[in-house]
Amino acid sequence: MIARDRDLVGLNFIRLGMLSLGVGMFFGVIGGFQFLFPEFLRELLFTKTRPIHVSMVVSWIFLVAIGGIYFYLPRQQKLKLWSPNAARIHFWVFIVTGLAILFSYLTGQFGGREYFEFPAALSIPIFLTWILFGVNYFNTVRQQKGPWPVYYWMWGTGVVFFFITFCEAYLWLIPYFRESMVREIIVQWKSYGALTGSWNMLVYGTAIYVATRIAGNQDAARSKMAYSLYFLGLFNLIFGWAHHTYLVPSQTWIRLFAYAVSMTELFILGKILWDWRSSLSEYQKNRHCNAYRFMFAADIWVFINLVLALIISVPAFNLITHGTHITVAHAMGSTIGINSMILLSSVFYIIREELPQNVHASCSKQVMTGFWVANISLAVFFLALVMAGLGRGLYDGASFQEMATQIRPFMMVFAVSGITLMLGFWVVLWNAFRLIGEIITPVSSEQTQPELA
């Protein structure tokens, strides 16, 4: 099936996202080994590889979520995109800004704060194109008759709150914030917590969209339960961030409040996905094989991360786990296990819908192998980080080097499993990238006859 020109921008965002993840994971592996062997690639310091890795994998999440929205609205929801040109400008500005950020990292020109280490001026194009994206999104979904399904609310919330929290992340530019250590840290992590919540809204909205489309049950996206859980998620986004800053001196009730509301969002998604899966017929499961498989993996990771999130959100346990690799395990488990699995489900759902004649688009041995290698590696990777975090959190000596030596075996497992995790993802990404390419540039029917998986 030939994608119409107006739908291509969404697919281009998705392909760019896949490229970003592939490269970002490579820098993550380099960083993992630099952690163990500081002399490794000394020319490319950890101060460079870490922000490159983080920026590129976070870009994957945003690009594929945005691409999905740009694709689903005109192609499947039959809502004419308010401005296809604005979407194209968004895409090209993202590419140019991304390259400028990469250049600034590689040449060691920093100037921002953690996660946005690039010079602050480079945030301006991101800020402006996000406005463009927001205007385009809201003017497009305004055409929808009747109440919005919950995923429109979630995407809209993600758009609005990313804009707000991205601005908030730059409040440090104002001396009032910058010159007060406590205020600066609290506001910085307030913004990061809500910013994560905003991208979760984009991703979880995509999950519900794909889930309801596969199940052929739109009612699930308009039920009172779905709206209630969405608002609980929004409540969490607004008030649940302070678990990041339990140990920074601030008003006690902020922490108490965050303790009470934190980490219910994962439970919310788990419930929706669980309900969805149980309603699928065997035929539907097979028909959307890859999409189902990745959504199923996300479901499992939701529960694993829920357990860890609940533990570390209890301040008494947070006292031990804060500032350790357990926090990294939670971040990796969420971004790889949940967000990435959902986004890959979305990608394979698009592929199956657009290439119904291609058996590889549904199930293939290569994708299945990549899927299992990635998930098993992620489990090992996750456990290694938890063990290293426990080692660090429970260490009661005064020597950082002694503690680092004690947890080194776990960090070795972490670094090696990072390689297999990357290889597993690369296999999946390569297949998805190629198949999305076939949607963009259809090949002759002879070339699309694969052997059965």
Partner: protein, 145 residues
């Protein structure tokens, strides 16, 4: 009724959004007021800039927030007692087995040390004197009273 549902959704969203604005305003002001803390000196302010310029947070943390390759620096100055500033300056200027010499000039080194001294006065991390309540919260010595 679809119309009612739309109004209810907008009402709930609006309420939460307004709560977000008020809560943010509180966090920006009274919620993070630390009047007992010293003002950041000009030297420390420059040090903060140098800390960003070399992306030190990729490896180090304040209050457990940052990268994990190197140690937390919240109280690195008081850790070494009276020699704290000298030890920190030596580490920064020369590097260590795991930290490269980033080539800071002597003024930059002194500015970063001033910044670390300022951070050192803002609180204790990890907390040394604290109390865990039966419902899992932690009261610590640096909490605002």
């Amino acid at each position: 009724m679809p119309g009612d549902q739309r109004i209810n959704n907008r009402l709930v969203f609006g309420t939460l959004f307004v709560s977000f604005i008020f809560y943010s305003a509180y966090v920006y002001t009274a919620g993070t007021e630390a009047a007992h803390l010293p003002q950041m000196s000009e030297e420390a302010s420059r040090g903060q800039h140098v800390f960003q310029k070399y992306n030190c947070v990729a490896c180090h943390q304040f209050y457990g927030l940052g990268g994990y390759m190197g140690p937390d620096l919240t109280n690195v100055i008081s850790k070494y007692g009276a020699a704290g500033e000298t030890v920190a300056a030596t580490f920064i200027a020369s590097g260590t087995a795991t930290m490269p010499n980033l080539g800071l000039d002597p003024t930059e080194v002194q500015d970063v040390v001033a910044y670390l001294s300022f951070v050192n006065q803002t609180g204790t991390y990890p907390p040394k004197n604290y109390e865990v309540t039966w419902y899992g919260t932690v009261r610590q010595e640096d909490d605002p009273q």
